[in-house]
């Protein structure tokens, strides 16, 4: 007789907060689902998520709950799709650059494909037509070119550096 998976699952974040969620919500997190698939006998102890902060996890749980409820509505697809889009846009809008990147890292670790796609598009929209300096700050990238090398690339592709949006950070 195999142990039935508990209806509620507890997740513990890096900063030691515990979140109790419905099994269906937890199964939206690919990493958690894989854990249960591989350990069907797992006890109901909290699952540690060492790469996820409580701030990110609460956003992620909200997202999963919302999209689960949309899917549960089934065939009423066009309005559900529209609502989903509005929700996703709002999600991007309410995060500044830094927290968006932090969220991507968490969602990537938890392996939630749809949410990751949404966030990726959000990031791409924020860096498109931006200056090189802006993109460096956005991602915290250290410029490891020598000034000569960078000047060479800029000279070679001068046209790509013209007419970028002003940095708004």
């Amino acid at each position: 007789m195999s142990t039935t998976v508990p209806k509620k699952i507890t997740l513990r974040t890096a900063d030691n907060h515990e979140f109790e969620v419905d099994e269906a919500v937890a199964m939206e997190l690919g990493t958690v689902k894989t854990f249960f698939d591989e350990n069907p006998d797992a006890t109901d102890e909290p699952i540690p998520l060492p790469n996820v902060s409580s701030k990110c996890l609460s956003t992620i749980i909200e997202y999963c709950k919302f999209h689960l409820s949309l899917r549960a509505r089934g065939n009423d697809s066009s309005s559900a799709e529209e609502e989903g889009k509005v929700y996703d846009e709002e999600l991007i809008k309410t995060h500044d650059n830094e927290s968006l990147v932090e969220l991507i890292l968490a969602v990537n670790y938890l392996n939630i494909k749809d949410m990751l796609d949404t966030l990726n598009q959000g990031v791409a929209d924020r860096i498109k037509n931006k200056s090189v300096e802006y993109v460096r700050r956005f991602f915290g990238i250290e410029n490891d070119y020598t000034p000569e090398e960078e000047a060479e690339i800029r000279a070679q592709y001068e046209w790509a550096f013209e007419g970028v949006d002003p940095d708004d950070d």
């Binding site: 990726n120 990031v123 498109k128 037509n129 915290g140 800029r154 592709y157």
Partner: protein, 219 residues
């Protein structure tokens, strides 16, 4: 990310790749290759990992160009006419050669995207080179065909061949285009309207390796 973590190093490459493939403007990809070395390698070679010898062969810019211009998927490979001698000292390493080839592709597709996206419609013909025959040179010379007006200095402006008794014998006009790569959207041909002239039956156009013809209706 104030602690200077490199985002692309933290994410697996799949994610970074997806972010960058969401970009729709080639100039973004070209510009972001100046962000840092790892970004450059990433943009050019879309790396499996940041050890640059693990190269998969498709560049991001090439992919974007192919999405924008599906006709390009028929292109097998591209090459530059100059600058290939660079770096032969290290030719022993096939990874090095592969990387050089990817950089070359990146340059070419950047050039191509730039060419295709930045042109404003304008004359493609740089000069008229030669006509197979001219009745009265220069009054009826080929240079007149570049003149959009019908009359110049109170004279009709046109080119006329010497004429052939056999209508199957072709006459040709040869022009040089203003660049190695031109996107031709329109060709204007105006048959001369007047007395005592014999107009052509069929016009062929030959663009380097492409031949096509247009049947002209003459009213």
């Amino acid at each position: 990310m104030k602690n200077g973590l490199d985002f692309l190093n933290l994410l697996n490459c799949d994610v970074s790749l997806k972010i960058l493939t969401n970009l729709e403007d080639p100039s973004d990809l070209v510009r972001f290759s100046a962000v840092s070395r790892s970004w450059r390698q990433f943009v050019i070679a879309d790396f499996m990992s940041f050890q640059w010898f693990v190269v998969i062969e498709n560049g991001l810019l090439k992919h974007l160009c192919r999405r924008m211009f599906p006709q390009l998927s028929r292109v097998d490979h591209v090459n530059e006419l100059c600058g290939t001698a660079k770096g032969h000292a290290e030719a022993g390493s096939s990874n090095f050669m592969e990387w050089e080839a990817l950089k070359r592709e990146h340059r070419i597709y950047a050039f191509f995207a730039r060419g295709c996206l930045s042109f404003a419609p304008r004359e493609c013909i740089y000069e008229a080179i030669i006509a197979s025959s001219t009745d009265n040179d220069p009054e009826e010379g080929i240079h007149n065909t570049l003149e959009p007006r019908d009359r110049v200095a109170r004279r009709a402006s046109y080119w006329s061949s010497k004429g052939q008794s056999n209508p199957a014998v072709p006459e040709t006009l040869t022009y040089r285009l203003c660049a190695d790569l031109c996107v031709i959207t329109e060709i204007n041909v105006r048959p001369f309207q007047g007395n005592n002239c014999f107009n052509f039956l069929l016009t062929w156009f030959h663009l380097s390796s492409i031949w096509f013809y247009i049947n002209l209706k003459i009213f």
